[in-house]
């Protein structure tokens, strides 16, 4: 149960991350009418991007879980602390508060110009999957990091990381191949112009975080 809830939360947090300067830039970059220039390159780049994102997520959250294990975490007190953090994060998400602390970093734009696009995409994927090297768009990311350390379970950390990476990759790889079309452009524009979509996603994050808190608190 705990694993399932955390994985869903990580997936939702990753998807929310698409509403960031980096996430939106990726759609633009990997589109066939963007730097990829061809549908085939776009599809290959989407694949390498997804792999990079999965790897990045696994490194961050798996690494944090390993650190937690090394520190001897995993007790009821640690789980309780993670639950408190999750509650706070859920409340902040539900209210749509500005993310703090924020990491005002972006992936290097030059990579797409100097590297083959699939290789640049893999690098971008890793950076986005790492979660803390670029803008954070959900308090859930911080809460999941805390939970990974507190639970100190490397397998669970890996699952969280992979789900987070998948969440970061999904909107990009679903949108990028179609970004040049009218419908694809309209969807990307809607992402930019309709605050309600992001607000809805953040509320979803809040619900998932609340569920996390409940499960952590009763674990």
């Amino acid at each position: 149960m705990l694993t399932a809830v955390l994985v869903v939360t990580a997936l939702a947090a990753g998807v929310t991350g698409a509403w960031s300067p980096c996430g939106l830039s990726m759609v633009e970059t990997l589109a066939p009418n963007g730097f990829a220039r061809r549908l085939r390159t776009s599809l290959v780049s989407c694949a390498t991007f997804a792999l990079g994102a999965l790897a990045g997520g696994a490194v961050t959250f798996g690494g944090l879980a390993l650190a937690g294990a090394a520190l001897g975490a995993g007790g009821a007190a640690a789980a309780g602390a993670a639950a408190v953090v999750a509650v706070a994060a859920a409340a902040a998400e539900a209210r749509g508060l500005r993310i703090a602390p924020q990491i005002r970093r972006q992936v290097p734009e030059a990579w797409r110009r100097v590297l083959p696009v699939p290789l640049a995409a893999a690098g971008y994927g890793v950076l986005l999957g790492l979660g803390f090297t670029t803008f954070v768009l959900s308090f859930a990311v911080w809460a999941l990091a805390g939970a990974s350390i507190a639970l100190g379970d490397p397998a669970l950390g890996l699952a969280i990381g992979l789900a987070f990476g998948a969440g970061r990759a999904l909107p990009v790889i679903l949108l990028a191949p179609f970004a040049g079309s009218d419908r694809g452009g309209a969807v990307t524009a809607a992402m930019c112009e309709r605050p309600a979509i992001l607000l809805g996603l953040r509320r979803l994050d809040a619900v998932a975080l609340a569920a996390c808190a409940l499960v952590l608190g009763t674990a």
Partner: protein, 462 residues
């Protein structure tokens, strides 16, 4: 107990030094240049400094004797570097000890010596706190990462070669300062005196009536000490604007008594404006006594004065700075209402509120008819609705105006003013930009280069 406090205190001092450096990368790199670190390795030296100091702090908090001795050794190295710089006449330059705020002085060297001595004697005082290294390292890393993440707007103004009057050359702007306050000199109109007369640096501030940033910057200019200030309005002082080749407002130029341009740059806030005055002052001093400050030139082209906090910023910052400030190295594409804000199809929007405008700059409704601010259709004297005007994509209109082939290619998103913004290049095969400078590739592809730039404002917070 005393020993534990001493270990923790020295660790905290080193961690603060690392965090403050991390929080101001540019300022620290400028300070490193003042110590003779070549610009090409300044970035690596910055990173190494932050990592070493944070690691030592973690080691001290964990109570490792080796960390104390290593910290003493490192700090002794800093002390030698400071003394050497002071011997070369570098007093007053940024020391970079705790971010960019501190200055090189005997007191600073004394503080370093004291800290080095303290680290050396820590093991003699007794055992350290003995906290688990993994915890202290995690705390140190967290503090440094958070400090680095706190960086927001650059402290320095943006100084770009080719924008504004050339550095170290006499500028005709001096004539405006030599006339009576608030009036003309040599028949030149305009140039409102705005600050103290007879300052040690003459500061020309260029503003524009429609520029929101100017409204924020201008009132702060009067508070600058030791500055003789003149404001030049884009509409009222067109000759001064032309003479200074101002790329956009707000822009500032610092002049010496002899009218030589000491510093210049695009400014977005009071801190950046102050950096222009400080850079001008530092460069004037450096020129007069040929001090070692000139060695700071390794950090960035034209940065001859390390006495300023900024006036030189990294290209990455510059890019963000430009767009976030609505001012561009490559000028904005011609737009009916000024700033080149567009919708997702590239059609013009009014920058301040995102409302649609036609090619004449009139607000229009969904059917393209011109309307007033309240959305009521404009009519002629007989009460008939005015006919719609064309509404052309801004890039396309630019191509038609300049007689060149243009195309909207790539784009990139940045966080500007709390909202995600899409930066869009209007590309052409031309070798020059709209402002006459050599064209850059930017976000263009297929051998096209940036001719001018536009932006699409999203509602996504960041």
């Amino acid at each position: 107990m005393v020993a534990t406090i001493a270990w923790l205190l020295t660790g905290a001092v080193l961690l603060a030094a690392a965090a403050l450096k991390a929080a101001d990368r540019t300022g620290t790199m400028v300070a490193l240049a003042a110590f003779g670190v070549p610009g090409r390795v300044a970035g690596a030296a910055f990173a190494a400094l932050v990592v070493v100091e944070a690691a030592l702090a973690a080691g001290l908090a964990a109570g490792f004797d080796a960390a104390a001795y290593a910290a003493a050794l490192v700090l002794t190295g800093f002390l030698v570097a400071q003394l050497a710089a002071l011997a070369r006449g570098g007093a007053g330059a940024p020391c970079g000890c705790f971010g960019a705020g501190g200055r090189l002085s005997r007191a600073a060297a004394g503080r370093t010596a004291l800290l080095a001595s303290a680290c050396a004697v820590l093991p003699l005082l007794g055992a350290g706190p003995g906290a688990p290294l993994v915890w202290t390292a995690a705390v140190a890393a967290g503090v440094v990462v958070l400090a680095a993440g706190r960086r927001s707007a650059p402290r320095g103004a943006l100084e770009v070669d080719g924008e504004g009057p050339p550095l170290n050359e006499p500028s005709p702007l001096a004539a405006w300062f030599e006339g009576p306050a608030g009036g003309a000199a040599d028949g030149l109109a305009g140039g409102a005196a705005d600050g103290s007369a007879g300052g040690d640096v003459r500061l020309a501030l260029f503003t524009s009536p429609g520029c929101a940033l100017c409204k924020r910057v201008a009132p702060t200019a009067g508070a600058l000490d030791g500055v003789e200030l003149r404001r030049f309005d884009e509409v009222g002082d067109t000759e001064a604007w032309a003479a200074a080749r101002v790329p956009g407002a707000p822009f500032a130029v610092a002049l010496g008594d002899d009218g030589v341009v000491l510093a210049k740059g695009t400014v977005n806030d009071a801190r950046q404006l102050r950096s222009i005055a400080e850079a001008g002052r530092a460069r004037r001093t450096a020129t007069s006594r040929r001090a070692f400050l000139g060695r700071a030139g390794g950090v960035a082209a034209g940065a001859a004065g390390a006495g300023m906090v900024g006036a030189v910023i990294r290209p990455g910052d510059a890019e963000a700075y430009h767009f976030c400030g609505h001012i561009f190295t490559t000028d904005g594409c011609p737009h009916p209402t000024g700033l080149p804000r567009i919708d997702r199809r590239g059609l013009p929007l009014r920058a301040r509120d995102g409302r649609r405008v036609d090619d004449l700059g009139r607000l229009i409704d969904r059917s393209g008819r011109p309307v007033d601010e309240d959305g009521i259709a404009l009519t002629d004297l007989d009460g008939r609705p005015l006919p719609p005007s064309p509404r052309t994509p801004v890039c396309k209109l630019t191509g038609a105006r300049y007689g060149i082939r243009v195309r909207t290619d790539g784009a990139w998103y940045r966080c500007c003013g709390g909202r995600v913004r899409k930066l869009v290049d209007c590309c052409s095969p031309n070798r020059t930009r709209i402002n006459g400078d050599r064209a850059l590739r930017g976000y263009c592809y297929d051998k096209r280069k940036v001719f001018c730039v536009m932006y699409f404002q999203s509602s996504v917070p960041c």
